[in-house]
């Protein structure tokens, strides 16, 4: 039987909690702590908001940029046709 996690431990587990990566016991203890601790509730809410804000920033960036695919393909093909020192790239 594990004791209730401290606030510090909650902040250490919060990322795994959001990603559903805690064991059922850890998750239960985590939620129990949140029920009783307004600051940790706030911390976890803020972490979730941080993560979704990063997603929003990425979506905005991708909406702006407009790569010229054909131009990139041409560049790659030109380079590829050049005789070259075969670089050893592992193929796992």
């Amino acid at each position: 039987m594990k004791m209730m996690p401290s606030c510090r431990e909650i902040t250490e587990q919060a990322s795994d909690y959001l990603d559903q990566n805690l064991s059922p016991w850890e998750r239960a203890a985590f939620r129990m702590h949140l029920l009783m601790c307004v600051y940790c509730r706030r911390h976890v809410k803020h972490l979730g908001l941080t993560v979704s804000t990063l997603g929003k920033i990425a979506a905005e960036e991708d909406a702006r940029k407009n790569d010229d695919i054909q131009q990139i393909v041409e560049l790659i093909k030109q380079q590829l046709d050049k005789p070259t020192e075969q670089k050893g790239e592992e193929c796992r």
């Binding site: 979704s52 804000t53 997603g55 940029k65």
Partner: protein, 202 residues
């Protein structure tokens, strides 16, 4: 336009046959992601160059690709390795662990000796990402804290929270264990959260 990408089984033989349409399809599907990953590791100045270099490595190595992961994961691992190699060259004087990894956690600790909050989190006057991002100043704080992350943390954060890859693929791409990948992600998220927190505590 991102049409449905054909399966690896269909795509790989066509790439090996130098099919132009297949080239265009993989570039269209993966180039943006490759630049994001390269930028996370080496920074914006040479990210495009690293992505280009990685494409050449991909197409040259493709005949020897053993299909132990998806094409996408394999391509991204080549980007990651190309970028890490560049980073080693660029920062010859710096210890590689410092350049890639992480040293300190957030200080000073907001907790007392018993592990309870000593300086509790501030109330953020925001409930959604849109609320947060209305402040230009806060947006600049977030961008600055992203730029200040150690490269491997930024790579994990970019792939997970900004590009939506699953953790298993990310660990294969970055060549870290599952638990190390989680630590990188956790620390990166905490740093961005701390930057926003600092903004609201002012």
């Amino acid at each position: 336009m991102n049409q449905q990408l054909p399966s690896d089984d269909e795509l790989i033989p066509r790439l090996l046959a130098h099919d132009d349409a297949a080239y265009a399809q993989v570039v269209s599907a993966y180039h943006g992601l490759m630049v994001h990953l390269a930028r996370a590791i080496v920074g914006p100045a040479i990210a495009d160059e690293v992505a280009q270099e990685a494409w050449l490595a991909v197409l040259r190595a493709l005949p020897r690709f053993e299909r132990r992961s998806s094409l996408k994961t394999w391509i991204l691992r080549i980007v990651s390795n190309t970028a890490k190699t560049r980073l080693r060259h660029e920062s010859r004087t710096v210890n590689l662990e410092d350049a890639l990894g992480d040293q300190a956690s957030i200080d000073p600790s907001p907790f007392n000796a018993a592990g309870r909050w000593a300086s509790p989190p501030a109330v953020w006057h925001a409930d959604t990402p849109d609320d947060l991002l209305t402040s230009q100043e806060l947006r600049a704080c977030i961008d600055a804290s992203l730029s200040a992350l150690p490269p491997m943390q930024r790579a994990a954060l970019t792939l997970r929270d900004m590009q939506g890859l699953d953790m298993e693929s990310i660990c294969k791409v970055l060549e870290v264990s599952e638990s190390n990948g989680r630590v990188l992600l956790h620390r990166a998220r905490n740093r961005i959260q701390a930057a926003i927190e600092e903004f609201y505590q002012r």
